[in-house]
Amino acid sequence: MGTMRGKTLILSLLWVMPLMAMPDSIAVETPAALLAAQLNQLETLTDTLKVETSKRGYLVNAIDVLSGQTAGVTVGSNTNPEAMLSSVRVRGNHSLTGGNEPLVIIDGMSSDLRTLATVYPGDIESFTILKDAAQTAQYGARGAAGVIEVRTRRGAEGKFSISYAGDAGFVHADHFLPMYSAAEYRQVTTDRGLSIADLGANTDWQRAILRTGFVQNHHIALGGGNDQTNYRASLSYSQNNSVIREMGMRNFTAKVDVTQYALNKRLQFDVGLFGAVGHTQSINDVQKLFYSAAAFNPTYSTGRNASGGYDGYPDASQINNPLALLDIQKHNDAMHFNTHLRLTGDIGYGLQVIGYGSYSYDADEDSHFWPTYIESTGKIYRGAGKAHVWLANVQLKYSHDWNHQHKLEAMVMAEMQGRTTSGFHTTVNRLASNAFGYNNLAIGALRLWDGTGSSLEQQRMVSLMAQVGYTALERYSIHVTTRGDASSVASANHKWGFFPSASLSWNMKKEPWLRDEAWLTRLQLSAGYGLSGNMGGIAAYQSLELMMPTGSVQSDGLPEVVLGLTRNANPNLTWEKTHTANVGLEFGVWKNRFVFTADYYYSHIYDMLYSYQVPVPPFVFDKMLANLGKMENQGLEFGFGLAAVQTKDWDLNIGLNLTWQANKLITLNGWYEGQYLTAPQYTPIASVSGAGLHGGNTDVVYQIQGQPLGVFYLPHCTGLVPTGNGDYEYEIEDLDEDGLIDLSDGGDRRVCGQATPKVLLGSNISVRYKQFDLSVQLNGAFGHKIYNGSSLSYMNIGSLPYYNAMRGAETKRINDLTVTDYWLENGDYLNIDYVTLGWTLPCKEHWKLRTLRLSLSVNNVATITGYSGLTPMINSTVISSTMGVDDKRSYPVSRTYSFSLQIQF
């Protein structure tokens, strides 16, 4: 049924069209059947992405599927490659204070990206991306940053089926920074008259920390059913041993879904269970490891020393022996369990009642171990966290269709959600031995007061919603939603927010004057407006003045814990609000062999939740979470799909999506309790760090009022000038022409580019010849810049002899660490995400074997870029201390080569 949705991403359909068997689909759909199914859904207006994992390269996880597939969705890489966690942004950043992660709904269950990452991609049938306010209205505040609806595969009526899908491959790193080899290091330091610690070895530390990575995934699913009951169950195991030694993850999942009909199918029960258990071994400090691997003295050997540790090089205090760093253990064990029950009852008169309940439980355990040769006397940290989330909702739906002339849909819904998170942690120091790892806390002699703690936090939400949709003559439709959301996190008098939205659509193809144009398959215009609220990413109790343990003092000779406030409480905390307006066009010709979609959106965010800088005095703390600022986002999204060739033996499909997006931080000033608060004009977001780069004027990416979030604000370097002793330094322009060079904020600095790409591109090209198919995915980002902080450090010849430098440093002879725009580079790139070559056995009707497919894939094939650093694929979207700055933390560039097999009976 057509509810208030966005538009279908027909492109995905085209990519799906050269349909081989889906990896374990129970009902294998023929291309024609699928096409028809999709066309029938064209009334619904959303970006639905059919998942056809068989066509993809090696998938690290389910989130990976989204990369480059649909306009307006950005999948960041490298957030935590070991845990395979990627950041996802739907239409950019909506908020300054978290609440930027899209809501993930798995089979109607509230979830998050982290859980989605544990779902085996082959278990997913489709992704639906809801982007604007009218579309996300159904989820209210929870969907403020966009919604990714995930539909998992389920049983279907029909005969029993079982399938296996698996892949295995290796990962090879082949692109490194051109640091001096040991011989070159000796030569350059000798030429400069520097004495070095030469231990005689020739070590390439960037390679010393690597291994050949190994990946494998296995997935078994079985299902079946009859007209009363159907079920599907699956088990999966994934392993990813990263190219970095010791690092990697493994994940095991189990999933069961059952549907039961009763009372002549007037009552439907859906029950689902999902569980995942994973183990991750991550790099403790990514920047420190890769900085060390690049800059550590190459004359040291890779062997352990007599005491079982690794030799350090104390003169290079900011780095360490890279192999010693690999001995730091940072392990995480995560358990996730969720279950849901949906009861759908048809009570006649066009009325349907739906009751839904879900419960999920997450448990996390972090186990960290620092050996004595890394962290003075050694340290162990153990921490555990738990989250219980429950949700219940009741919906009453009505729909009636009067001879296709008038169609009315109405719905009322009430929902409650509760979340309880708790955790505890403890730290011990001064270990008696390294042999115990983190397995026995009693090995530590010291347990300091601030090393131990625990917490419990509860959040609750209530929502009420009413929605009416009316469609006339199958062409004109209007949907109006009003909803009230209340959050316990908001302050006492500001719990409730009221958020209306409306959308209009006009299906022009159904107009009499176009109905008979055979070449035109589809033409639709739509527009929407909505107000939504956001409270995501906000911790509980921010509006309350609470005393927390802050330290310990002695009182009459005995230790006593003292309590204090730890933040400025805001008794007026309320919803962040966003007005969004959007218009869209969909166009398809020749039975949708060519489709084109265009969307424009504008959103205005106000009462923006942000941890504002507040004046001290009178405030005690310099930050306060409040609703003050304003921000705007706009974007233009295009999709093209072309089924260029469709013959018995040949298919050629080309899909392309293009997103232009712009963001502007309008202001961070505003009224708070009758006081006008002003924010600093310049707030640093990201800086460079490393030896000689601690604080001072080392900030690079800023948040500046009147500018996009994340702009480069830097002194301008007009060139290199001699320092007088044969070396060179950056010549800095006196931008404000006051006769002085002032590198501080507000001084001789200027805005010179943004960190976030202005244009994003995703393209998929697939070719089929008989049973062979080839698929290529291209992703690109343009219009942004990257600060090459790695080169700032590594091209500084003055870093020698304690820190190794990069080839070319001896000819440029830059002896300067001043942060200027000299190392600001264009970040444009085009990445060949994967190439997959597959072969499908043409199975006959009467065979027991229903599907057999073999494929070979290469992931991260190549990147075309003018960027001089290791890779332009850094964090360019998430507002964090790494945004826009390539600062000695990029992983060596690696490719994954994998083989996969899918088989179904």
């Binding site: 610690a197 003169d315 003292v562 590198l743 003055g798």
Partner: protein, 540 residues
């Protein structure tokens, strides 16, 4: 019938769902004040003792001393006592240390920002403590209330003293109810008067007991601590009551009348008056035989120390965190510490100590490592194969490219390096010394000389103490103002007093146009977030 029943049930459920209590927040791991303050003991702990968790710190830029990029760095590296040279790839740090040494800091200087935030943060907590004491006064006896209020007000006055010194024209905030629009700067003399008055009022209710030794008042502001602050205020009164520090004229200490326990004394008389009060205190202070005792690993019993930041890993969070950043990496490692190979003595400091001359002060080797250093009798071999030798005279602001890039400069050794230190030396047993008796004597000597009396006894007591302990000869010096200035430089090296002394002795800036540098700029974020604040002269 059945269908209707279901409809009613659903609608009823929808309407009944949002009950008000469901949305109320019930905190668990934090608690409202009323749940915590239930007794006089709890009030004492949370309103009074909790402030001492904040005198020291384990966080950068916080605490009166003990961590870096805060008050200590402003007092030390903006003076000519010590320097952190740029050492190749180390210590450029965006020009931070160059700015401090060369007085080219701007309003966004990180140390200034940190010092402001820290001091006003602590003042805010003091104001809250006073509000709590008032709110829960029914839990207290009158005596308790007076004592607690006096102590909190003295802590607050101490914070204002640092603000007065660093930023001069600062807003006086004494209540938690003050709004942004009511925040206005006071003239420097007004801030001075406010602090003086606060301490005068607190003084009678503060116990006359030791603060530096273990016991009930360990680490707390007791009467001798407040007396010391009053001495500092009086000693610097010429500077701190001067509302225009750029015009080259300042009030004469003899003309500044201060009310001392109800008696009006001039500034110098006040210094001596409160110096005598400390010497006559029941807490019973006397100079240690050797200055080393003040900075020993176990210095809680040093008879000379007046106010310290207790360091004890079991009780306090306070740490010695990157305070001095002085020793070469390998030297520190050999001592079981974390080294940063940064700060060292300036050329001027070497001159004052008579380094390398036959008149080298016997305290030089107590306060500095220089030349070849040995740990456990063994010289240290650097990774380059060379022996570690510190070259004091090779120090200069930028050492990059120098063969002495890592080894130039005499290094800090004032605090005993505690073999039982943990966390790379961040947790040593040495308490951080803030105020001590040698300073009291030198202040008294100075005040006496400034009013035409002899301060020779007080001066000599400090000056010859170490020579006596070591049994070496010491050159006799007359307690002139200049000699007192140099003696303070030597004796109080690394203790964060030299900037104040340089300003008081008018040696901080050379050119009249640089006089504005005697106070630091009001931090940029403070002005941006409160546009009513007026930037200090010279930084507009």
């Amino acid at each position: 019938m059945g269908k209707r029943y279901i409809v009613f049930l659903v609608v009823g459920a929808i309407l009944a769902m949002p009950s008000c209590n469901f949305l109320n927040e019930e905190p668990h791991s934090g608690q409202p004040t009323e749940a915590v303050i239930t007794s006089a003991a709890a009030l004492r702990l949370q309103a009074v003792l909790s402030l001492y968790d904040l005198i020291g710190s384990d966080k950068d830029g916080k605490g009166l001393q003990g961590t870096y990029r805060g008050i200590y760095d402003l007092q030390t590296f903006a003076s000519n006592e010590a320097i952190i040279p740029v050492r190749g790839g180390d210590w450029y740090d965006g020009g931070l240390w160059v700015d401090l040494h060369e007085h080219t800091w701007a309003a966004d200087n990180e140390c200034c920002e940190n010092a402001w935030m820290y001091l006003y943060g602590l003042i805010g907590r003091c104001n809250r403590s006073l509000a709590l004491i008032a709110q829960y006064s029914q839990l207290l006896t009158d005596e308790q209330r007076t004592a607690y209020e006096a102590e909190v007000r003295a802590v607050r006055a101490m914070c204002y003293t640092y603000l007065l010194d660093l930023f001069a024209r600062v807003p006086i905030v004494t209540s938690t109810e003050t709004e942004v629009k009511d925040i206005a700067q006071s003239e420097r003399s007004e801030v001075f008067a406010f602090i003086w008055n606060e301490l005068q009022q607190s003084l009678p209710s503060l116990p006359d007991v030791r603060s530096n030794s273990r016991g009930e008042y360990y680490g707390r502001v007791t009467k001798p601590v407040a007396l010391f602050l009053l001495m500092k205020l009086a000693l610097n009164a010429e500077v701190w009551t001067d509302d225009d520090w750029t015009d080259g004229v300042r009030p004469d200490g003899k003309d500044i009348q201060l009310s001392c326990d109800g008696v009006s004394l001039n500034a110098w008389q006040a210094v001596v008056y409160y110096g005598d009060a400390i010497l006559n205190s029941e807490a019973n202070y006397w100079l240690c035989t050797s200055v080393r005792e003040c900075f020993a690993a176990y210095n809680e019993n040093a008879t000379e120390n007046i106010f310290t930041i207790p360091i004890d890993p079991i009780v306090y969070k306070n740490r010695f965190k990157n305070l001095f950043r002085s020793l070469h990496y390998q030297h520190a490692a050999a001592l079981g510490l974390g080294g940063e190979n940064g700060s060292c003595a300036t050329q001027e400091t070497l001159d004052v100590f008579g380094y390398g001359t036959n008149k080298q002060d016997c305290r030089f080797n107590l306060f500095f490592f220089s030349g070849m250093v040995k740990v456990n009798g063994e010289p240290l071999i650097l990774s380059s194969g060379d022996t570690l030798v510190y070259y004091p005279r090779e120090v200069q602001m930028v050492l990059t490219g120098s063969p002495y890039v890592a080894t130039a400069g005499a290094r800090m050794r004032k605090y005993e390096y505690d073999p039982a230190a943990i966390f790379d030396g961040q947790l040593q047993n040495n308490d951080i010394v803030l105020y001590r008796l040698a300073d009291v004597y030198l202040m008294m000597a100075e005040a006496k000389v400034r009013q035409g009396q002899s301060g020779q006894d007080e001066f000599d007591g400090v000056r010859i103490r170490e020579a006596l302990a070591l049994g070496v000869e010491v050159e006799a010096r007359v307690a002139t103002l200049e000699n007192i200035y140099y003696e303070r430089w030597i004796e109080l090296m690394w203790e964060g007093w030299h900037r104040q002394d340089m300003i008081r002795f008018d040696r901080y800036v050379e050119d009249a146009t640089d006089r504005y540098q005697k106070v630091f700029p009001i931090p940029q974020t403070a002005i941006q977030t409160n546009t009513r604040l007026q930037q200090n002269k010279g930084y507009e």
